[in-house]
Symmetry: C2
Subunit: 218 residues, 2 copies
DNA sequence: TTATTATCGATAAGAAATTATCTATTAACT
DNA sequence: AGTTAATAGATAATTTCTTATCGATAATAA
């Protein structure tokens, strides 16, 4: 029996805005605010309240007219939507400057992410402790992923090594790669890749500045 | 005399893709490839060739049927569009883990960005040399920006300090802020802010993984 | 009690971005 | 020389995302 139900994925722009809502909501919760309206959230983030309402609707949490949403309910709804309510383990490959920075970042706990092991190829780094984790040699990577059934890999190695690391991760059963290298990784269809790319942010800043300057002189 | 010319800003998605094109093109140039087609670029980045063509049209560089574009011309066109052909100086505020990682990142030279000074409030860090730059105390920030006429500020301080640093930057004449703190900064209209937000990338990865898993089981 | 107002949630309209279609061009092949 | 195939570039169609409109609801004020 065919249904006429068409599955519609959540829009990417919506997903990207969700963590900002979460941050605001946690802040308000901490400040003791029981309820919150989309008008309020929108003001704080300089967004359109209608957009906020539509975005938040993907959590399934409903609000009440003249009141808004229950802050804690909305927070729980967002955690649930993002899957951040239960912690997921990840491996980090590449303990250079950026890798160390990520290892030192406390905020991941709030995102349901725990980096349980770190790998690098450099003799200088192997065995060293960085933010409480001992750096292991790359050749132990695949076995570790298999044994610990880890599903997320964070790649912070230089461009030339990235694809090889990605292959290793995929072979060992990784399902998602958070890729900080400036390389488009080839992976099979069942693996998702999220590219984190400084250069596109800087491009946007560069163009915004020059557009702003030329707009001012018009 | 009024003209009927309507200024249309380049779409943000286009701007974000441009650096990826640049990276590919540089690689091809290095490999000695004189000309390049959008079909080729699109293949390598898993994009639609029509989109690539439209994106690249903002550079003003034209191609030839059956041939494509001259690689070097396109590279020059992109540098020109992004304003990366002449180097811009920037200050970095916050020499913690993330700040150090950015200081150590060699790639900025290729993006026309040079971090000329670093500031921090921590006594432990002031005076220390990180990747060749001596960390200066925050109270010297404004004077330095004014004297050196720097226009770009990179903020890598913790959330609670970010807004204050932004105010200082703005007072001293900064025109663009690259904001790595998880805070929505309040700035006057003439200043542009580019937020670099790990959490939205991770949100996207989280949702992609769970959508992929549930799609597989459908 | 009744009126007013803030808000939600649904649907519609509008804007922006992507993708398709079509024509022209030109290199390579026959 | 003529034909074919690959590609650019323009315009049109489509899809996606954002914003507006409108009715319903419930708290607050009159």
């Amino acid at each position: 029996m065919a249904t006429n139900f068409t599955f519609r994925a959540t829009p990417q722009p919506t997903i990207k805005r969700i963590p900002a809502y979460l941050a605001i909501l946690k802040e308000l919760e901490l400040a003791g605010q029981i309820t919150v309206s989309t008008t309020d959230i929108a003001d704080r983030l300089a967004l359109n309240p209608i957009q906020v309402r539509k975005d938040l609707s993907i959590t399934g949490i409903t609000g009440r007219p003249k009141i808004g949403y229950i802050t804690t309910e909305l927070i729980a709804g967002i955690y649930n939507f993002l899957g951040w309510h239960n912690t997921k383990d990840a491996v980090l490959v590449g303990a250079g400057a950026l890798g160390s920075a990520l290892l030192g970042y406390k905020g991941f706990a709030g995102y349901g992410l725990r980096i349980t092991a770190t790998f690098d190829s450099s003799k200088k780094l192997i065995g060293k402790t960085i933010h409480g984790r001992v750096v292991a040699p790359i050749n132990e990577l695949e076995d570790f992923i298999r044994q610990s059934a880890i599903r997320i890999g964070i790649i912070t190695v230089p461009a030339e090594a990235a694809q090889d690391i990605a292959y290793q991760c995929v072979r060992a059963g990784i399902r998602g790669i958070w890729n900080f290298s400036p390389v488009k990784l080839a992976v099979p269809h069942q693996v998702v890749v999220q590219n984190e790319d400084l250069s596109s942010g800087l491009a946007l800043l560069s163009v915004k500045i020059s557009e702003k300057l030329s707009a001012d002189s018009r």
